[in-house]
């Protein structure tokens, strides 16, 4: 069974829990005392991941770190429909990769702001917040036009991809980093849609959506 080195309040760990819950993949978590113990920076943990960060998965001895890389692996390995990581459709796969890189940006701004506020990280909070607003503006406009095309997800396909999973936690917890989503109504509507994906599960700070029509 997959082992997930996990911290319950980490957005990047949550991305894996969410993906595995949606794909109905059984896993067990190994809690890492991320805060206040900084266990991921300790010598023991660095034997698992020398970079000293979480999440890390151990799938029967196959070790992988980096949140967005793990999403690629999980979808490629455990989604027989091939829709979450659309390797069969080069155009869609390119879009997915592009938005996964965009999600690195939201992680480094919106989620970094959250680490400053919640866990006292010494980042430039204002720069993180301003960066997140810049990206959210782009994403809101993108999603608004998707809606006009009759599409619901970040990529142009009819089915969500791992890009939605990579972006969702950074976006939906942004207010914990002092980044209001009041100016991004299309982004807010998209978070409702992600919450309605069968198998969706939340984490502290993420509330469920009402049932859709």
């Amino acid at each position: 069974m997959i082992k997930l080195y996990d911290y319950v309040l980490s957005v990047n760990c949550y991305k894996q829990r969410l993906m595995m819950s949606i794909l109905d993949v059984a896993y067990e978590t190994v809690p890492v005392d991320f805060f206040p113990g900084w266990e991921h920076k300790g010598e023991e943990f660095k034997k698992i991941n020398p970079l000293g960060h979480i999440p890390v998965i151990d799938d029967d001895g196959y070790i992988l770190w980096d949140a967005h890389a793990i999403l690629v692996y999980l979808a490629a390995r455990y989604d027989p429909s091939g829709r979450w990581y659309p390797t069969g459709d080069p155009g869609l796969l390119g879009e997915t990769a592009s938005w996964m890189l965009f999600a690195e940006g939201t992680t480094n701004t919106a989620s970094a702001a959250r680490l400053c506020v919640n866990l006292g990280y010494d980042f430039d909070l204002e720069a993180c917040q301003a960066g997140a607003h810049r990206l959210f503006r782009v994403l809101d406009e993108h999603l608004w036009f998707r809606e006009r095309e009759g599409r619901e997800w970040v990529c142009s396909g009819a089915h969500p991809t791992i890009a939605d999973i990579a972006l969702f936690p950074d976006v939906v917890l942004s207010e914990e980093g002092g980044i209001s989503r009041l100016d991004y109504p299309a982004l807010r509507r998209w978070t409702d849609r992600v919450k309605r994906i069968p198998g969706f599960e939340g984490m502290p700070g993420i509330f469920p959506a009402s049932p859709g029509l």
Partner: protein
């Protein structure tokens, strides 16, 4: 510089675009510094509310819109479509929330694909001739980090291309178009673009979000052909983004204005204090019969709509007093499901031995008539914390249970609604029952003994997480209570509502009643009731049915032994003796002390 001439707090402003409020979503808005929760109910009414739950001030924009009610994420308080009244408090599952628990609402009108509201708007939302005459087409709205005034000023120099020029050249430059400002207000600009024989007019409304923030909401006067819409939307998005960049660059050079501080409404004094109980039977509302129809053999249904304003919030199980043209006052349950807040729907059975109530409603009251009714009162509240709810309806006893079933269904809580009726033709509101699907079980044409046997079967299995609600004719209700008791149900899991009290009232006793709070002692002589005597002494007590069935005139007993003659309280309540129905019950002891 554009001069702001009108008080923005008295104007209508757009607070959302129609596409911002799809079903089952809560839009997070802001106007003049005040945050708003904007949500569309399944009946298409768009609610514009203060964005804070009355309970702990949590933003309602993170709440859940279930199509009929908005549920706060923190403690689950539920608020009704339109009225914003609280319908359920999970921490008090057995109690009906007071009608006065109500969120602040703001005006709401949909026009030109925008939702219009305001702090204290005067008159109607603005009408714009080119949009009235045209086929309005909404552009993407853009948030701007600048004041509305600055945005309006820059919008006068905004450029775009006519829609007809975009099909061939979506990347065309707006620089070649001839622009004219056809109109401008404090918060809007009308622009026309002419190029190559084509022209398009657009109205740009600017929503003042806060002193230093606004949203530009553009509406084209004419809807482009479907094949051209994507190019038109892209073109305007590009041009507006350029405009926004210019506005924000200028705003960044200006001193940042202080954010606006919205005035949060204080709880009115009359709500902060212990409310004064109204004396007598109040008929505070006037409603019009919008529709009257036969919903089953001998059962007339009525839809009552407000003459002005919004109807007060009701909860499942609630009833109203209807003051009839012939002077009688009768109680009828509200059958509506959650969110059906624009009317009250009642079902009235014609009673062969009617004393004039049902006959009057059946024969005299017609569509268009005005009736006086009381505000809803809920003495038959529905718990929403059971794992399973069994509803037993006998005949017209379906009415309160129909409201309950619809609430449970909406909340995806397990329930069974058993309808006992003579035949399918005698089953009221079949259309609503059909929508409830397999949770509804019809028991048609059973003779009394088989009805009892069926009830016995239905109540046989139960646990502490199952609750039973019964409404129907006296004998059926008695049977249900008896069978439930025999099956080991505890009294506090069995809830019932009688149509009327058929107990023969013995009013021969004479006793003294002392009022602990009012420091008043009165004597109740045989032939009069506690309620009557207290009213004569000026002690106000609410009442409704005045026959010991509805529970409205309840008083708390501090000392003395009540002589219960009501059918509202259950056997455990009667035994405990700490509450009394003042309209029919009396005293076995010489003296009663009431907490009044």
């Amino acid at each position: 510089m554009t001069q702001v001439t009108a008080d923005p707090f008295t104007l209508w402003h757009p607070v959302a675009s129609a596409h911002d409020v799809p079903y089952r979503h809560v839009h997070h808005g802001q106007l003049l510094g005040r945050e708003l929760a904007v949500w569309r109910a399944d009946d298409d009414y768009v609610n514009v509310w203060e964005n804070r739950c009355l309970h702990r001030g949590v933003r309602l924009s993170i709440g859940m819109n279930d199509g009929t009610e908005l549920r706060c994420q923190y403690h689950g308080w539920r608020y009704a479509n339109r009225s914003a009244g609280c319908t359920y408090i999970p921490a008090h599952p057995a109690d009906a929330p007071a009608r006065t628990i109500c969120n602040r609402t703001f005006a709401s009108v949909e026009r030109y694909g925008l939702v219009w509201s305001g702090e204290d708007p005067v008159g109607d939302p603005p009408t714009v001739e080119v949009l009235e005459a045209g086929t309005p087409f909404g552009l993407r709205n853009l948030p701007v980090n600048a004041s509305a005034e600055l945005a309006v000023q820059h919008l006068r120099d905004h450029r775009f291309l006519p829609s007809a020029r975009l099909g061939s050249d979506p990347a065309g430059s707006a620089g070649s178009a001839e622009m004219s400002v056809d109109g401008a207000g404090d918060y809007s600009v009308v622009l026309t673009s002419r190029a190559g024989g084509a022209q398009s007019t657009a109205v740009f409304f600017v929503q003042p979000v806060d002193s230093g923030r606004c949203v530009i909401r553009g509406v084209l006067a004419e809807t482009p052909a479907p094949s051209e819409q994507a190019a038109v939307l892209r073109h305007h998005a590009v041009e507006l983004n350029r405009l926004v960049a210019r506005i924000e660059a200028e705003a960044a050079r200006l001193p940042a204005p202080e954010p606006m501080v919205p005035v949060l409404q204080q709880v009115p004094l009359h709500l902060a204090e212990v409310p004064e109980a109204p004396a007598g039977r109040q008929a505070a509302l006037r409603v019009q019969v919008r529709r009257k129809w036969e919903t089953a053999a001998g059962v007339a249904a009525f839809e009552l709509v407000p003459i002005t304003g919004v109807l007060p919030t009701f909860q499942p199980g609630a009833h109203i007093d209807v003051h009839l043209p012939n002077g009688l006052v009768r109680q009828y349950s509200i059958t509506n499901g959650p969110g059906e807040t624009s009317y009250y729907r009642l079902g009235v059975k014609l009673e062969p031995d009617s004393t004039g109530g049902s006959v009057c409603l059946h024969e005299t009251v017609r569509e268009g008539d005005v009736l006086a009714i009381s505000e809803p009162r809920n003495n038959f509240p529905l718990r929403r914390d059971s794992m399973r709810t069994i509803l037993l309806a006998g005949g017209i006893g379906i009415t309160p249970l129909l409201a309950m079933a619809q609430s449970l269904d909406r909340m995806s809580l397990a329930f069974e609604l058993h309808c006992f009726a003579q035949s399918a033709e005698h089953t009221a509101f079949s259309d609503v029952l059909d929508r409830l699907g397999e949770s509804v079980v019809r028991h048609l044409g059973l003779p009394p003994d088989e009805t009892v046997a069926e009830i016995r079967r239905l109540v046989a299995a139960h646990d502490e997480f199952t609750h039973l609600y019964v409404c129907g004719p006296g004998p059926m209700l008695e049977a249900a209570r008896r069978e439930a008791a025999a099956a080991g149900w505890s009294d506090d899991h069995v809830h019932f509502e009688y149509f009327k009290n058929t107990t023969e009232i013995d009013d021969s006793s004479t006793f003294e009643v002392a009022l602990a709070r009012s420091a008043l002692t009165v004597t109740v002589l045989s032939g009069s009731t506690i309620l009557e005597v207290l009213r004569e002494q000026g002690v106000p007590l609410p009442s409704s049915c005045e026959q010991g069935a509805c529970g409205t005139c309840v008083a708390t007993v501090l000392e003395g032994e009540p002589d219960h003659q009501d059918v509202y309280l259950n056997d455990s309540d009667h035994e405990a003796g700490d509450r009394i129905m003042t309209c029919v019950s009396r005293a076995l002891s010489d003296r009663l002390v009431l907490d009044l």
